[in-house]
Amino acid sequence: MEMKFSGQFEVSPPPAEVFALLSDPQKFAPLLPTFSSLEMKDANTALVKVSVGIGKIRGTASTQLTLQKKTEPTHATYLGTGKVMGGAYTMISSYDLEPKGSGTLVKWRGEVQLVGKILSLAGGGMQGYAEQQINAVITSLQQAMSPEGRRGAPAPADEAGWLQRLLRLLGLAPAADQPGGTPPADAAAATAKLTAGWTGTARAERGARALSPLKSAGRSKDFSAIVDRQASDKWVHAALSRKEDGRLIRGQGLFVDDYRVDGMLYMNLVRSPYAHARIVRIDTARAEALPGVVCTLTGPEIAAVCSPFMQIGPGTAQNIRDFPLAVEKAIYQGEPVVAVIAENARIAADAAQLVEVEYEALPVATDWKSALEDKAVLHPGMGTNHHWHGVYDFGDVDKAFAEAAHVVKIDQMDFHRTASTPLETHAVVATWQPTGGVDFFCNNSFPAIAIQMIAPALGLGIDQIRCKTQDIGGSFGIKIGNYPYMALAALASKKCGGRPVKWVETRNEHMLAGGHGGERTFLDTEVALDKDGTITAIRARHIDDCGAYPRYEPLGCVIWSQVLPACYKLRNIRIDFNQVVTNKGPASPNRGYSRLQHLWFMERVIDICAHALNIPGDAMRLANYVREFPYTTPNGCVYDSGDYPLMLEKAKALIGWDEWKKKQAEARAEGRWFGIGIGTTLDSGTNNFGQSRIVNPYLPFSGNSEVATIKLDLDGTVVVTLGSTPSGQGHETTTAQVVADELGIRPDMVEVRTGFDTAANSHGGHSGSYASQFAVTGLSAVHGACQKLKREMKTLAAFALEANEDDLEFTIGQQGPELRVKGTERGINYWALSAMVNINTAGQPAHFTDITLNIRHVYRPPFKIPDVDKKMGNLTLTYASQLHIAVVEVDRLTCVPKILAYAAIDDCGKVINPKIVAGQVHGAVAHGIGAALMEAHIYDRDGNLLTSTFTDYAPITAMSMPDLLYDDIETPSPFSYNGAKGMGEGGGAPLHTISAAIQDALAGEDVVIRKSINSPNDLYEALKRADRASAVKVESRIG
């Protein structure tokens, strides 16, 4: 085919100057759009490499550009030839220059001839593309000839310098020259793009950012530079730096509080100062009279228009009435009682001070003991504080005890209340829609459940809720629990006539009410062992304290049983499991949710038994580890793979076990408290939601699902959307790695949408980021979607190339990503493929109508519904494992524990991105060490939280973090397509490890570590306890 173009434009320099530029191929070629390099063949001929392609499709094409004719200073003609998309082209362009005023009028003509089947197939689109390219050349020319351009590029001292300046001016300097990339103006545009289709954008006041000339930098230029540096042909397993980083290191992420919309209002909450109090009277008159206040909301007002949130618990737990605001009484300190909505955040805060609430204090239940007495019943409808009870009984426990050589009894152990306190607090912007639905921009990390909670409460259909997340400043499970605030902001927006309402939690509010990790007490533990120290049975009573409102509970009453025997091979276990509600902040899933408490318990059992029987901690573990995989636990869970002895060996080598043992002997000789401890733990990932039926047989959930969509956009760009809500785990990067490998392209050729969006149709009922699963659920969804897309692409390509599907390969060609007939130059690029479905659809076979190049894949792991009566079944798909060793010295005078060395070995099966995995391990270790040594939520007897600020709670800083030694092993999971196991939660290994090390340090003092928190105060108390010698009893029948 042939295309002809012509036109004219003006530039300000005189013809001689314009001619000098136009007639020199060395100067002219760089003006070509996406010019990448040039080599002069002779004075009139340049071999030019240009990055060609449309949108994100990339590739390099060589063009031979010859100056065919020049008549100084009025005329130049270029002839260009090159190969393109399995075809070839010839291009003639000529320029005639005429003086116009002091400047020049440039008249130009262009002719392009294309040969080859593909080009004619994409003919209609080619014309537009060519015009675009020509316009780009003209713009470049005009810029180069503009006064500014000429100032920036004075007469060249040498050619290279001239080129560099010109390139920089045009924003075409090669990546190596400008690794940083996106200038602020572009980044602002990128931010605008991120929010496109939404009702507002992050407000970037025009003057605030540095001005900078517009450049043609792509969206992910930083990431392209990273990918260039990595230079790999396989991307899964590569330690690639992240795509996400570009915006975050510039401070251009879009967190909820960064988001602003016109007319937006701000909500502030009045919270109960009492742990348990009847609300006698609320007076909002003075608050409402304050200028700038729009309205207030109270509990009774809300209860009249919405239903209480769905309860998961069985029986009378269904009668719990949980509303976004307290209705008749407040049942924990910090419970929201009144909402105030005003024109700005400061007015809302002022007005909240003017709300008068009269309370009548009620008796409180602040621990499991007082809760079980039922003197202060929190939820009258439930009639008791005993929220859940069930017995997990496997094997023949009584027989094992009857036959035991030793029985070790531990009276009580306590796992404390602690929380991962993400640095960004809960936040939401809610906008009630005129059509009756609501839009949320929020940071909930399990939005699929959040909308299933909110819709019935607000009386909405689920399709009436649009829920979107973007950058989330950490979650660690905690942000699963912020849906009551989303509902509240929605009601506030409704009352304000649909004006958007923003609510951002303060840190103090977060500590009081933002969600605490569950507290658990272990009573009357008895352990049966044979004569070699092999554990044969355990029985105990466990009591969980979930705070005032169960919300996600009692799921924690079953989730721990995913790791029932921990890493150990005992077959006889009976746990009487209970959960109570207390007048404390509501519990929330928190990193290691429900499993870490149980794993800590099991590790304490191991160490306490080892101590009691005088067996070293490492030998005790080796005697009891599960060793064959897949391993079916007594309750039917299947541990996919692992090698705990190997991890122990590696950890010992890493930390230098033998040297530390020597040092320990010396230190002990000097009377120092010096201990070495081991912790082995599991991070079970990809839940079978069927386990929810074990806590309540009437629940409708089972299995698991995650969704990904993948499409070729109109220009052939590969676009992926996810159902997950990453908050730092790098899903954009790992997804790009997987897609790149599947399609034989580069990760920077894959656009991965940020965040969750119900409107993107890329979510299912389990979508979100929780329970260590993305590498399995998320990436399996992505992988599945890729397979379907590839099938469609092959069908189209086979037709277009008149080839057999089996002869096609996915690769990168001159025109970017393409399918090619193996061993030939015949290929079709993504743009042309997309055109066949989107813009150039005539003349195709009838059966192509099923092809959309827009795929939605739902991954569903092969789970069965558990046996509810026996509490048995496969509850999780993968079991990542961790083994840590710590060396700790406790100061004899101050009781301050100091970590002298720390090693962590991780096994999460096949690693997708080693950098990201190591980062997750580091983070989990910091949370664990913080929780083991200092981070505790402490209540006084009246239910006042004593740790309601960061200053009191003291989250771990760089000063108290030891330097970590880290290594891994890979035991691929047989249950995931990629051999990966979900990871990230980390199983609370440092809690187990530090308890063990301190136990070892204080071994000579008869102290048994029975609490998961070991602050100096706790250790001082443990050392002073009168019963410290009698806390553990050993009954031995032999030896």
């Binding site: 200038p183 290191i249 401070g251």
Partner: protein, 165 residues
Amino acid sequence: MSTPDAIPPVTIELTVNGRKYCREVEPRLLLVEFLREELGLTGTHIGCDTSYCGACTVQLNGAPIKSCTLFAVQADGGEVLTVEGLEQDGELHPLQKSFSEHHGLQCGYCTPGMLMSAHALLAGNPGADRKAIKKAIAGNVCRCTGYQNILKAIEAVANDAGEGK
């Protein structure tokens, strides 16, 4: 409780990332609120209310400060540098590159504050050692990274400086 509009606004003039601003502000407006709300510089974050976390760290006249602990009026006449001012002429600051290269950020919420603390440290002590780096970021909380890679990222830039690069 007096109403806010009873207190007259104050006019302040300050330079932020090299640009001069003159604004009328409520005397109680915090510097962090001024930067985020008045100037739209939302890279500076808020993570606590007791000056503990450092998510709000910016530089005032070259010194790292917690902008949640200063009123905007206290910065009157001063020069403020925020994370948005680190990139110069499209060139990222070596610390920004190093944070990405060493995976010194996950959620990215603490990152701007970390960068500003580190930047202030290296301005005064370009070859800072690990101990000095730990001290410099002792007032910056990161809940995601366990600090390991943040220290590595800052150390890498300090080492480069140490080698006279």
